[in-house]
Structures are given as C-alpha cells and as structure tokens.
C-alpha cells in the first residue's frame, strides 16, 4: 500500500520534471540567444535591424537589415502553405472518409515515408527536377526561386497537415454523419458541409504546425531558393530565408562581431515566429477540444 503510493509519487515527480524540463530548455535557449545578441542594442543599434538591406560583409558599409530575410521566409512559407493546404486537406479527407481499408493501409506508410525524407535529399530532387521545371514552365533565367523552395517545403508540410487533419476528421462523431445522410445529403455533401467544418479547428491547427515546420526548414531552401537577400513578394525571384542565412554565414563569422550578433537576432525573430505559430495552433486545438465536450 505504502509502496504503491511511493511509486505513484515517484512517477508523478518524474513526469513533472520531464514536463518542466521542456520549459526550462525553451527558456535557456531564449536566454542564450539574447545573451549573445544583446550588445548589438548599444552598437550598431536595434534600428539597424529594420533596414531593408542585408549586406553583412562589406568594406564600405555593413548592413544588417533583417527585412529581406523575413520577407524571404514569409514568402516561401506562405507559398508552401498555399500549395500544401489543398493536397494535405483533400488527402486527409480521402484517407479518412473515402478510401477503403485496403487503400488506407497502402497510402499511410507512403505519407510517413514522405515525412521522413531527409531535407538534403529533397534538395537534390529540387535542384535536378523542380528547379529546371520552374525555369522552363515560367520562362525564367534561373529556376532557383521562392516558388521552387515553396514546392519542396510543401512536400514537407503535406504529411504534417495530412496526418493531423486526418486525426481531426476521424474524431468527428459518426452521429453527425448519420444525421446528415439521413437528411438526404450525399456522401460528398456530408464531408464538406458537416465533417470538415466540425474538424475545422484541428485542420487549422494542422496547417499552423505545417507552417511551423516550413519556417524552420533550412537545407532545402538553402539549396534551391537562390539565396538573394532582396525584399520581394514575387514567387519567381530568388530569395534568401532567415534559416538559410544563419546556416550559411554562421560558420565564417567572427565570434562577437556585429555580424555574429545580427545572426543571433535572426535566430530570435525566427524563434518568435515559430513560437507564435505554435501558440496559435495550440489555442485553436484547445478551443476545439472543449467545443466537442
């Protein structure tokens, strides 16, 4: 009896520390980022970050404007999301509502395989297949564009969107479907007018999480987006994302230099962006959980 209680307590403490560990780590990372980035506030000053030119290595004037990097990441992320949403959601609907058990068995492993492809490999695929395709189809000088990166990132977001949306759709009570069918709705009408709306919050959350995955992705975008730090919302231009910038420049920078600190600010902005995405999707998911009850 006493032993049991002790065991329960131990387990509780263990779980508690595991749970809190992640909080501690998040805080530590933030702290560490700020520590490295802090001196930048005094010299050359925070306003520097809001400029629209990123030119950290220069003999005339070094510039640390984050704007082109932020717009680069935002453009690629939004494009990727727009591409991934229809495939992800329709795929989820198909797998959970339309596919036979056999088809489901066959399809699901493939989605997991897609999720598991290393991003470098996807990058190769992008360089060899997607980039030339984009170049030819749109008649561009180079295939290394925001769009090319977005297509590949969409491939990464689709499994996330699909599997979480599928869970959300599957958890829609069968009673809603029966009610709709009994009112004379077809299967398709039932899916679009009852099942998807009932699962909407879960679907939105899946999209958010997919975006989070995309914003943070580095390797593929570095390989295929052309890495030109320009402020642009044109999908057919080369862009440079925040992640690619940090990954490419961190190795060569002098520790403690302005450039070094600027890269840490890039990291902070990136982290805030993913943090907000996750927070919003968490909120949405929570709301949806309570609505069901």
């Amino acid at each position: 009896m006493n032993k049991q209680r002790l065991k329960a307590k131990l387990i509780k403490y263990f779980l508690q520390s595991c749970g809190s560990l992640s909080i501690v780590i998040v805080l530590l990372i933030f702290l560490f980022l700020f520590k490295e980035a802090l001196p930048f506030i005094g010299q050359p000053g925070l306003t520097e970050l809001f400029h629209s030119v990123w030119n950290p290595v220069s003999f005339q004037k070094e510039e640390f404007g984050l704007l082109p990097l932020v717009t680069g990441s935002v453009l690629v992320t939004l494009l990727a999301t727009v591409i991934a949403i229809p495939f992800g959601i329709i795929g989820a609907v198909y797998i959970s509502e339309v596919a036979s058990a056999k088809e489901r068995e066959f399809l699901k492993p493939f989605i997991e395989i897609l999720a598991g492809i290393p991003s470098v490999v996807l990058g190769f695929f992008g360089l060899v297949v997607i980039a030339p395709l984009v170049k030819d189809v749109f008649g561009l000088n180079t295939g290394l564009t925001a769009l090319t990166g977005a297509v590949l990132l969409a491939l990464m977001a689709i499994p996330t969107i699909m599997s979480i949306s599928e869970d959300a759709i599957k958890s829609v009570p069968a009673a809603y479907k029966e009610a709709s069918l009994a009112l004379g709705a077809s299967r398709l009408e039932t899916i679009w007018k009852v099942v998807v709306p009932a699962a909407l919050s879960g679907i939105i959350a899946s999209v958010m999480l997919g975006m989070g995955r995309v914003v943070g992705e580095t390797m593929t975008v570095m390989m295929v987006t052309g890495n030109a730090p320009v402020v642009s919302f044109n999908p057919f231009t080369s862009v440079r994302t925040m992640t690619a910038t940090v990954a490419a420049e961190m190795g060569e920078v002098t520790i403690g230099s302005d450039h070094y600190m600027a890269l840490f600010w890039v990291g902070i902005v990136l982290m805030l962006m993913t943090f907000i995405l996750n927070l919003v999707s968490y909120r949405v998911l929570k709301k949806y959980g309570s609505e069901r009850a």
Partner: protein, 257 residues
C-alpha cells in the same frame, strides 16, 4: 368522417430478410404500416427493431456488407429497386436517433441544413421554415431569441426536439424515431410524447421504444419483435390487453426482455 376514411397503407414489407455480412438479423418480415398513424416497435434488446427501422430509409446501406432480400415498398414504390434515388428516399423518410445529434452549428443552421441541401437559398424562406419547424417541435418559445447560438448549448431534451425540427424541415412523409426519449428525463420525455401526438396528424410515425407505457400512450398500432422475427402486430390496445401470442404476453408483462 375520420372513421369512415379508408386507412391507406404507407409502407409495405414483404418477405424481407436482412443480413449483416453472413449474420441474419431479420427473418421473413411481412408488415403493412398505415399512413398517418403512429406505429410502435417493441421487443427485447437485440431483436432487430433498429435494424428494421433503418431498412426503411436505407440507413443500413452505409454499413459495409449489409444485404436485404425481399421487398420494401413506400407508397407502392420499391425503395430497393434499381432506380430508387436514396437522397429522394431520405427526404421523404426522416429519422430521429436515440442519442440526439445536432450538428456543432447554430440552431438556425441545424434546421436550415436540410432545406439548403435541397436547394432553398432565400434567407426569408429559410427563416420561415426554421420558425415553423421549431413551432411544430414545441421549441420555438425556448430558442427564438438565440437562433444564432450553438445547438450544443441546448439541454438534452431541447437538442432532441431540435433534431425533430431538423428532420421536419425537409418535409418528410414518414418520421422514424429510434428510442427518441430514452436518454431524457421524464419531463422532456413527456414533451416528446406530446409532440408525437401533435405530429401524427401530418406524418406517418414509427417509433422504437423500450418503454411499454410510452408505446401504450403514443401509438395506434404496435409490432412486437423477437429474435429478428415479427411475432405479433395489431392495434396497440389489443396487443397490450389481449395479445394472441404467448411471447408477446410474456414480454409485455415483464417476464423477459
């Protein structure tokens, strides 16, 4: 006047067998259900009442591997015939489920769901339908000020009446009710029963119930099922006072079931 009006048969079932895969759930059912009457289906749990009810709007179709033999005619048309449009059939045969199942949408949108499916777009017309159905289901006074609120905010009894309103909104001839009050408190149950009393004027109603008093109170005719077979069918009063079959009597007097 009402007396000498001929009672028309609405549903005609002939030599019907029903299977879940290889398991037979209904055996050689023959029954004639009259128009604009309330028919109660009674019988012990698992005897096939719900299964039979669901053959009448082909809701069993959505379960994989089900099969039906024999004939089910509604207004003389074979609903399992090759040209039957299931959507049309379900428009004509509404259904209320045991557990109320409003959509997680507003009260208004719940009731407007069916009419919208069937092509009503005009907001004013929809409002008219919503109001008249809520009035019919005796819910109007309770919800008229909050039609845009989620149906989930209603009580269990209100939700069930909302589902009845939703079913009426597609203007069916027949309303199937599968233990519509089994999850409700006595007061809500009484409301549903009153409602059935009102609806019987306009609709052919078939109600499954485990509550003998309820069957006695609301129905004109009663059918007793046992182990997938129709054992006895007749006027409710006769079934409850002098049943012809021993099994019926045993069930009604509570000796099994």
């Amino acid at each position: 006047m009402a007396e000498n009006q001929e009672i028309r048969s609405k549903i005609h079932v002939e030599n019907m067998n029903f299977f879940y895969g290889s398991v037979q759930a209904l055996f050689d059912i023959n029954i004639e259900l009259p128009e604009k009457k309330v028919t109660a289906f009674i019988g012990p749990s698992g005897c096939g009442k719900s299964t039979f009810l669901r053959t009448l709007n082909r809701m069993n179709d959505i379960i994989d591997g089900t099969r039906l033999e024999g004939k089910v005619l509604i207004d003389g048309g074979d609903i399992y015939g090759p040209i039957t449009d299931v959507v049309e059939l379900r428009r004509k045969v509404g259904m209320i489920f045991q557990k109320s199942n409003p959509f997680p949408k507003s009260i208004f949108d719940n009731i407007a769901y069916g009419p919208r499916l069937h092509g009503v777009k005009d907001k004013g017309k929809l409002m008219e339908i919503v109001e008249s159905c809520l009035v019919k289901s005796a819910l109007w006074d309770e919800v008229k000020d909050r039609l845009d609120k989620s149906a989930m905010s209603l009580s269990g009894g209100q939700q069930q009446r909302l589902c009845i309103a939703r079913a009426l909104a597609i203007n069916p001839d027949i309303v199937l009710m599968d233990e519509p009050a089994s999850a409700l408190d006595p007061k809500s149950t009484l409301k549903i029963e009153d409602l059935i009393g009102e609806l019987r004027k306009d609709y052919t109603i078939i109600i499954v119930t485990h509550n003998m008093q309820q069957a006695g109170r609301v129905s004109d005719n009663t059918a007793f099922f046992y182990e997938g077979r129709l054992i006895e069918y007749g006027a409710t009063e006769q079934i409850f006072t002098k049943p012809n079959e021993k099994q019926t009597e045993d069930y009604i007097t509570g000796r099994f079931g």
